[in-house]
Symmetry: C2
Subunit: 500 residues, 2 copies
């Protein structure tokens, strides 16, 4: 084939770019797990250098090839075609940012993170505001570089989730808001559920061992990955052959380590499930942040917080933590793991109230990006939203607008993918149950490999060949439909709270 040689050169160069990205990701992993404190500043500049090197390599070496190939894309075979078009889309976007702007953003991001850490410790949003203000100014500039039709916010959303717009997110949340509010009200009228036994002292080493067992059961391949401890759990990958998760172990909260590991394990199975032959190409990368999040949440919530899952692990749990589970049955543990209760911190929020945390962040970002809110008034706006949605009075900035690191890093437009992840997860899970009618029994028997294979074959194998909407259509036969999530959560909570 005429363009075969050029396409092969593209494959080779994409592998080079992926090699460099692997090094960058390793530096990030190491920073959170092993790096001595004194190296923070230097590491930040080393990572900035590598990021700039990758950016330059992609634009100088890969982009021209991609443009050449894109001009004859209909002569390529189908996968090559999709790879070329997706690369073109990404690089068309990447080349819009001037190199000096990329460097400035990297530098500002480091500074803003330091400022956030300081303000977080001081529990004082006002200290952070001027730095965040600068970051938003840059993000608006970034949106201008990218260009947009309706809202500058759209340009940022699209960086995390191809094609996502402010109005699309608004529509989804408009659908969800009354439904979720209603669920919360119903919960508040129900008999409260005791979770005290989850919060007795639990040996850390035993918790760790248990998370390792669960990861193994899920099908996490330890010959191509590992688990470590870090302050904030995350998943990273340096190639399909080296995918790493971290977890945190809280001596007084069993669910923290367990669900952190399952969540990150879900992300990791996605990365391990990409085909190594597609290394460096879109076909060898995860589809989008929302779909990635769907993979972590489908394991964490749809599987991990299900009754059959608890039933299967109940014997292990009892053996490992006999004091905590004395006199309990699987149903009580299931209930405790699924309690819905408004709280201040997003990362420990339940499956229902969680989405109000995201909605709040989405509205903050939208209002600022569309110039209806000033950064200095962000905290007040936040607190009003928490009151409106969850009837909570935020009294500390740490419990409010300062709690997440993301904005300081410049991750604006990122949060909505978390909610979308839950909604995709529910929709995929419904489909999985259709495809594996026996799934519930398999879970109850601790057999997850059939389900993992279904994810591998239905979702992972496609990489980034399609945008998430198309992938969703391909997997489930319809576009994202939030009713799957609503049915799933209502059904589960009916059992938890005994609704009839």
């Amino acid at each position: 084939m005429k363009y075969q040689t050029k396409y092969e050169e593209l494959i080779r160069k994409c592998a080079v770019s992926a090699d460099l990205s692997g090094a960058l990701a390793l530096m990030g992993w190491d920073q959170e797990t092993n790096m001595p404190k004194g190296a923070s500043e230097r590491r930040a500049s080393q990572m900035a250098t590598l990021a700039a090197t990758i950016h330059e390599y992609n634009l100088k070496e890969i982009y021209p090839l991609v443009k050449d190939l894109a001009s004859v894309w209909d002569e390529l075979e189908s996968v090559a075609r999709l790879n070329v078009l997706e690369l073109k889309r990404e690089l068309d976007k990447a080349q819009k940012l001037p190199t000096e702007f990329v460097s400035l953003m990297t530098k500002t991001s480091s500074e803003t993170q330091f400022a956030w850490e300081k303000a977080y410790k001081a529990n004082n949003y006002a200290e952070f505001a001027p730095y965040l203000e600068k970051m938003f100014v840059l993000k608006k500039q970034e949106a201008d570089y990218y260009g947009y039709t309706t809202s500058p916010y759209d340009a940022l959303l699209d960086s995390y989730e191809q094609g996502l717009t402010s109005s699309m997110v608004t529509t989804v949340f408009e659908q969800m808001k009354p439904e979720l509010k209603q669920i919360i009200e119903k919960v508040q009228q129900s008999e409260p559920i005791s979770t005290d036994f989850l919060h007795q002292k639990i040996d850390k080493e035993k918790q760790w061992q248990f998370t390792m067992k669960v990861l193994e059961d899920m099908g996490f391949d330890f010959s191509r990955g590992r688990q470590d401890i870090s302050t904030h759990p995350f998943t990273t990958s340096f190639s399909m052959e080296d995918v790493r998760v971290t977890t945190r172990v809280d001596e007084f909260d069993l669910s923290n380590a367990l669900y952190s590991s399952i969540h990150e394990g879900g992300h990791a199975l996605y990365e391990q499930g990409l085909l190594t032959t597609n290394y460096g190409l879109p076909s060898g990368q995860a589809c989008s942040l929302a779909v990635h999040e769907s993979q972590s949440r489908i394991w964490e919530n749809n599987i991990g917080r299900s009754l059959p899952f608890i039933e299967y692990y109940f014997i292990d749990l009892q053996q490992l933590f006999p004091d905590n589970l004395k006199g309990k049955d699987p149903l009580q543990v299931f209930e405790a793991f699924n309690v819905v209760k408004p709280s201040f911190i997003r990362t420990s929020a339940d499956e229902v109230t969680y989405h109000f945390h995201i909605l709040t962040r989405f509205e903050v970002e939208r209002e600022i990006m569309e110039n209806r809110l000033k950064v200095k008034d962000l905290s007040e706006f936040w607190n009003a939203k928490m009151k409106e949605y969850l009837n909570l009075d935020v009294k500390e900035d740490n419990q409010g607008a300062l709690q997440d690191v993301h904005w300081s890093m410049g991750a604006i437009g990122y949060f909505p993918t978390y909610s979308l992840g839950s909604f995709y997860a529910a929709q995929f899970f419904a489909k999985a149950n259709q495809s594996i009618p026996d799934l519930n029994n398999q879970i109850k028997a601790g057999q997850f490999l059939h389900f993992k294979k279904w994810l591998n074959e239905s979702i992972h194998v496609h990489g980034k060949l399609y945008p998430s909407e198309v992938l969703c259509q391909l997997v489930t036969g319809e576009q994202l439909n939030v009713n799957y999530f609503l049915s799933y959560i209502k059904e589960k909570l009916s059992v938890v709270y005994g609704w009839t």
Copy 2:
């Protein structure tokens, strides 16, 4: 100053190069400490990509600047001048290798290492010989690219130790050989020393804790470094702010962990002692491999195996390992740690017989590079040397020519720096004792910081501004003089073996 701006640009670009090298070094560290097995192959290619990227950056971005500045070097101030001239020397050399050759070497090195691992497991040199043969062919080609006056081997030696030649190493060893032979004979006529108590079972965790304490005492800065476990102990550095050592803990050999940690700790203090303001420049890099090795050995042997050192730690040792040290006194421990006894394995050889291991490797390399020995006959040649020098009959390839990984990686011309390191160490140590007349008492009191400061100020601070010979002259007032080593070792062994 006229060329100031250009020099500042050079500093900036050298920092970029160092950032990339830091990432490469991190990949190497991770490979030995954390990497899952399944990632070996991919990691090798990722590291090759990064190495090629650095090579290219140095030649494309740094070399032209360096050539410009070198043409007006007498207009620069003195440190800038030395930095520019040293960079020119290195890059003049680096640019002699065609990029395809560098890639071929990287690839061959990976393959040869795999072959070595296989042959090592099979305990069969013959399996390895054809691969090593290919490696030597490439190394001869590399020597041709570099060019040389007398021996192709010189071109390789110079890559590890600027200016070192085959005839210089031969001269040094000719001086040492009869002296060392005589010492070994004298030891063999002396009363044997018991070392059994070192080899009783010793709790691994306790050993680890002890090594951490000793590193701390030496002045290793844990806010800018860390210690981990690996199969083969090593030191690596990603910047002066992130210097890492590894050790290995043998349940039945106390000295293994202890002296591995001290040895690597010595290397690490050198890296931590380089000035951060010189990051990326020759002035911020270690002088040479031999001088680096002098820093590990001065701590391991001159300090760590001295009687005052053992006296200081004796109480700790007794508390940590009461069963092993029951009824022992510091002198007995000192004696046991300094026993001289011919043995097969280089890495566990004593301070005297060690140099015959190096001499053997040096002669192997020289004879092959100068076409007097065939790679297929290497093992026989080796065994004959072991018989001649140490009166040992090598019966297993693992205990002989297959024991070290270095050749498979292409590190040919590297081993002599190990012996030179010992000789420099003794010479530096003699000088340190002159400068700090109270040094022995300080060691006995566990006060190492004065000594560390002396190393920092006499050696580390200069980085790579001078070749090792010049540095040696600067520090000790004379060129490398092996008599310092001979006096040191004879004096110590006189105490150990009660020679009068």
